[in-house]
């Protein structure tokens, strides 16, 4: 070894001396220039997307902003643009979202939990996992078509709030499953082992540790999937949502026994994006203003929902250290 080093030494020092030649220095200049050039390209790309988005939002605010008022929220759609409002649309959106949440959240969390904590890892589960990820990317109108066949005609649910809620529920179910799994996977295995080592059962481990520690991530996923569902239009048009509704679904609570009823589930409905679509397709300019105002409200709703999601994630991340 020592011999080899000594014979190698002269060549080594030669290489050492030749390192700081002009060639090398100019290569540094070139590489620094490429660094700079890429930074500029990246910045331009960022600005382009931001400015386009900002212009869209500003245009929406400028056109629709003045139209947003208390009356706009409390009026039914009307033939006269200035009298028209979004009462039935937002109530409809709210009702549909309620059904969607009740269907997608428990199903999605339970399915994600099963896949992550209970299922054996074999090719069947790998196949199922792959398909769930694919399902999240299926065009939404396909879900509409399927719901038209199964819910509306097959099960005879009609063009109702129930149908719409279930359709959107199915649509966002894969998102809930995938985000639930990710949240669960972020709980380190050492926590599972710690719990098992104290003699806990699997359910105790899941109930006392996995669910509480991943609830931030799960909630974030739920809110993000709901904010996607609230803006969906295509599948609801496919199942036949009405565009002009001048009444509200019956109240779910009443004064006589049994105090609650589920009649509202079977009512026809409209939702915010469909109301907006309807107004955009009218020839009159005034209706376009209404559409812009509705768009602004939808935008605000998704913004607020995503904001809540980010806040929850931040809160939980800060509390959880492993």
């Amino acid at each position: 070894m020592a011999d080899a080093e000594q014979t190698n030494d002269p060549t080594k020092s030669k290489v050492g001396e030749s390192i700081l030649t002009d060639l090398v220095l100019s290569s540094i200049r070139v590489r620094k220039w490429i660094d700079f050039a890429f930074m500029v390209v990246g910045l331009l790309a960022l600005l382009f997307s931001l400015i386009t988005l900002l212009a869209l939002i500003l245009d929406l605010v400028r056109t629709g902003g003045p139209r947003v008022s208390w009356d706009f929220f409390t009026s039914f759609p009307s033939r006269k643009a200035m009298k028209a409002g979004i009462l039935s649309a937002w109530v409809g959106s709210l009702c549909v979202m309620a059904v969607t949440s009740l269907c997608a959240i428990p199903l999605g969390i339970a399915a994600g939990l099963y896949l992550e904590e209970y299922s054996k890892k074999n090719w069947i589960t790998t196949f199922i996992e792959l398909n769930i990820v694919n399902l999240a990317g299926v065009p939404s109108i396909t879900f509409g078509l399927m719901a038209l066949g199964i819910f509306v005609y097959g099960l005879g649910m009609g063009q109702s709030i129930l149908t719409a809620g279930l359709t959107l529920g199915l649509l966002v179910l894969p998102i809930v499953i995938v985000t639930t799994r990710e949240a669960i996977r972020s709980v380190p295995n050492s926590i599972r082992e710690a719990s098992f080592a104290l003699g806990s059962s699997k359910w105790q481990m899941v109930r006392h540790h996995i669910l509480p520690y991943s609830s931030g991530g799960i909630l974030t996923g739920v809110i993000i999937s709901l904010s996607r569902a609230i803006g969906e239009t295509a599948p609801l048009i496919t199942i036949g949502a009405l565009t002009f509704i001048a009444f509200l679904p019956p109240s779910p609570v009443n004064e006589t026994f049994p105090f609650v009823n589920f009649q509202w589930l079977t009512e026809p409905f409209t939702v915010l994006p469909i109301q907006m679509f309807n107004w955009v397709s009218r020839p009159e300019k005034e209706f376009h203003v209404n559409a812009a105002a509705t768009g602004l409200i939808l935008l605000m709703m998704t913004l607020v929902m995503n904001g809540i999601a980010i806040y929850i994630r931040y809160r939980f991340r800060r509390k959880l250290k492993w």
């Binding site: 380190p188 050492s190 926590i191 599972r192 082992e193 710690a194 719990s195 098992f196 080592a197 104290l198 003699g199 806990s200 059962s201 105790q204 006392h208 540790h209 520690y213 509390k319 959880l320 250290k321 492993w322």
Partner: protein, 279 residues
């Protein structure tokens, strides 16, 4: 302590040298008999290991990485059952009743309720200090508040942590330092009064001062509980264990009193390992 002469008669075979005729102060707490372990992949990691575990003594498992010492430790509380189709061959008898911990007639959950474990890296739950220690009791369905409170204090005192945390029991356990976290994990395991306490390289993630605390603690704790400890640190094994088992490539090479192993190893491989020639 046994005299060297009695040991000489039994240690002729390096494998499974069990000091014969335990004196009254050395009750057998558990005994590993011809234990082989296969991972689901078919890999055999333990070759017919036999080893006694004495009551209120510290038994250290030493050996180079991959020798199977952690695998052996995790057999004691059936941790391997959590992952796939791993297979045990042989038995671990828990005395006084002589029940086989690896038998089909005992539920792994029962085993884990009777045998506590502390892991390599401190792994407190991101809950309060109090809740961490109380968790084992809650799992067992203990509801009585005064009892839980009493046990938590008792455990924290025995883990040498009470003075440091008594005013902040509601703080998050993860806000403690690494050494405190590990002592908390020990307290958590002690709270349910385990019959054997398994320590899997409990100080490998800690600084020298915290390591010192844990080692003192181990020496204190053996008054109350039988301890089996895996360690990479030869000095630690010689300082705080009564018996040492040296393992190599899944075989138990030598088992003896720690003083004997470290001053007068019988096997060449043991000698090379403890003098730092490999491992």
């Amino acid at each position: 302590m046994m005299t060297t002469s009695t040991l000489d008669s039994t240690a002729s075979s390096a494998l499974a040298a069990r000091p014969n005729g335990p004196s009254p102060s050395q009750e057998l707490r558990a005994e590993v008999r011809n234990l082989s372990f296969f991972y689901a992949t078919g890999n055999k990691v333990l070759n017919s290991v036999s080893l006694p575990i004495y009551e209120n003594k510290v038994t250290a498992l030493i050996g180079p990485s991959g020798c199977g010492k952690t695998t052996l430790l995790r057999c004691f509380n059936r941790m391997h059952d959590l992952y796939g189709k791993n297979r045990y061959d042989g038995e671990i008898l828990l005395f006084p009743e002589g029940k086989n911990l690896l038998g089909d007639d005992i539920d792994p959950m029962e085993v884990r309720m009777r045998i506590g474990m502390v892991f390599q890296k401190p792994n407190p739950f991101p809950k309060s200090i109090f809740e961490n220690v109380a968790y084992g009791l809650r799992v067992r369905g203990v509801r009585k508040k005064s009892f839980i409170q009493e046990r938590v204090e008792w455990s924290l005192r025995h883990a040498g942590l009470w003075k440091e945390v008594k005013d902040r029991l509601t703080d998050l356990a993860t806000s403690l330092s690494g050494g405190q976290q590990q002592r908390l994990c020990i307290a958590r395991a002690l709270a349910t009064e385990p019959e054997i306490l398994l320590l899997d390289e409990p100080t490998s993630a800690l600084d020298p001062i915290s390591t010192g605390h844990i080692e003192e603690l181990v020496t204190e704790l053996k008054k109350d509980v039988t301890i089996v400890m895996v360690t990479h640190n030869m000095h630690q094994a010689s300082r705080c264990s009564d018996y040492t088992a040296f393992m190599y490539l899944g075989d138990l090479i030598e088992y003896n009193h720690s003083t004997e192993i470290f001053t007068n190893p019988r096997d060449k491989r043991t000698e090379s390992y403890i003098t730092g020639r490999f491992g």
